[in-house]
Amino acid sequence: MGKFILRRLGISLIIVFLVSLFAFSLMHILPGDPARLALGEEASEEDVQALREELNLDKPLPVQYWLWIKGLFTGDMGYSIIYNRSVKEMLTEKIPRTLSLGIPSLIISSVLGITFGVLSAIKRGKWIDQLITFLATLGAGTPVFWIGIILMYFFGVKLRILPISGWTSPAVDFTKYVRQALMPVFCLSLHLTASISRQTRANMLDVVNQDYIRTCRANGINERSVIFRHALRNTLIPIITIIALQIRQVIGGSLMVEQVFNIPGIGLMVKQGIMGRDYLVVQSSVLIISLVTTVCNVFVDILYGLVNPQIRKSWG
């Protein structure tokens, strides 16, 4: 198992390296001069040139890349040219905000999605299955920004029972955090709940027709154990993949939701960074997001092994 984890971490390192190259290249391919944008149209050519030199933008690209990476290893992610703050400081501030919405939505959609999926599968064809199927299709087909605005209008403007937007740290005022987070978390969970429940239903229906489920029944095992001990475990193995694919959103934030509900998280920060050619903000955040995502994926792979002995045994 140790060897397996080491190998997976090695692969992750390569992925993160490629992402760093990619993020760096993209930011430098984009048209527009960061120094000019930072100083504005009125600034003199000398001032712009001076800033370029200060930011090392006049150096060849490989040198710039090297300087960026070197900085990262010493804990220096660079400075935002728009906000004039260190990127590290900005990330430390914004990551908790994004996580405070992403993690609850991941948990909620996993629990609800699996519950609905199982319910739907064991009551196949009954009204509850049809209701869940209808809601899941609706959920998967509804654009997040649209439902966000509708919710805001309904609960925030009409009924006035929830705050329209904003974010408060749960450590500062938990009740306020919950009230503000309700709608964004709902929006974040909507698609995921829908797709997990559809996938769980399909897997479950496939699994209950397997020979080993027939064996369980032929052995007199009660239906509850057949479903929860045998069928569910086999159903969940592919579901882990779907949930794992959402980890990026949990860390990287959802631009749509952060934009609609005006939550100053990672998504919004990266978007503003791209608009303002704030290249170090974008490069470093993309790199951090990809680093955390790949590390999480290693954990997911380990999780696979825990639920699927065949994978576990293949690790040696």
Binding site: Y212, T215, R217, N219, I221, P309
Partner: protein
Amino acid sequence: MNEKKDYLLEVKNLRTSFFTSNGEVKAVNNVSFHVNRGEVVAIVGESGCGKSVTQMSIMQLVQSPPGKILGGEVNFNGKNLLKYGPNSKEMRSIRGNKIAMIFQEPMTALDPVMTIGAQLVEVIRTHRKVSKKEALVIAEKALDSVGIPDAKARLSNYPFEMSGGMRQRAMIATAVACESELLIADEPTTALDVTTQAQVMELLVDIVHKRNMSLIIVTHNLGVVNRYADRIYVMYAGHVVEQGTTEQILKHPNHPYTEGLLASVPKLEEEVGEKLVPIPGTPPNLTDIPDICPFIPRCRYACDKCRNSVMPPLERTGESGRYLACYVDIHADDVNEVKDNG
């Protein structure tokens, strides 16, 4: 003497249908048979003749919908199991306990994410009030008795770490562990390679004889039947068409279908180059089938009486214990035989 009391299992007029969008498929149509204690009974027939559905009906494991047991009796130890619902506690306490069942596909018949030991313990503890530790001891003994070497170590193996033959043995071990009275083996060796087939069959019959269990083998392999079965029921299109001891049936088939079945099997004593005789035509579609002998279109003895009468009932013939559902005496001198049916 009342012979009836000795039956371990008696199936009477069992009818199971599947209701599909194309109509009612009469998979099991008035099937009756019995199994004595300590007896090995073979149910023989082509694919789709209803032999497996009959067994699934005994266990009430027919998937519903679309399947439904429409009528009949399944008397096991004198109690009609059909009185209990498919999900009832009574039925569950029969399944895997009094009546064990093993299936065609050992590769997929065990839960892939649980160890063999855990699966055996689960079944044992479903039916016996024992601790986990005691159940493990029973499981180990059972694995050992079905010829799995190093049983203790095998308990912590997952199904994918075992060969098909080993998995089938593990399935048989369930029956041993729960001291089942009846074992239903639905094509137990079809998916195994030939050498393993023989081993598994020997093991099955050995276990059954040693423990005074009864065995139903569902198969289309007449070699297996010849070697191991005491009595045979031949099924065609949802009906039992002939019944008798293995010797009676295999040496002197009375039903045209049985005769055709036997003629299509290669024999060692046959001369090289001699052609096998297939049964012409294909088995009938069982959807909305009329109540006449379903074998008529493929039968070379079919006469006007057959075509104008209802399905012949399974009736006792001259020989003891022998039954036949056919209007024609195929051994009679004046039988009107169509020589070339192809």
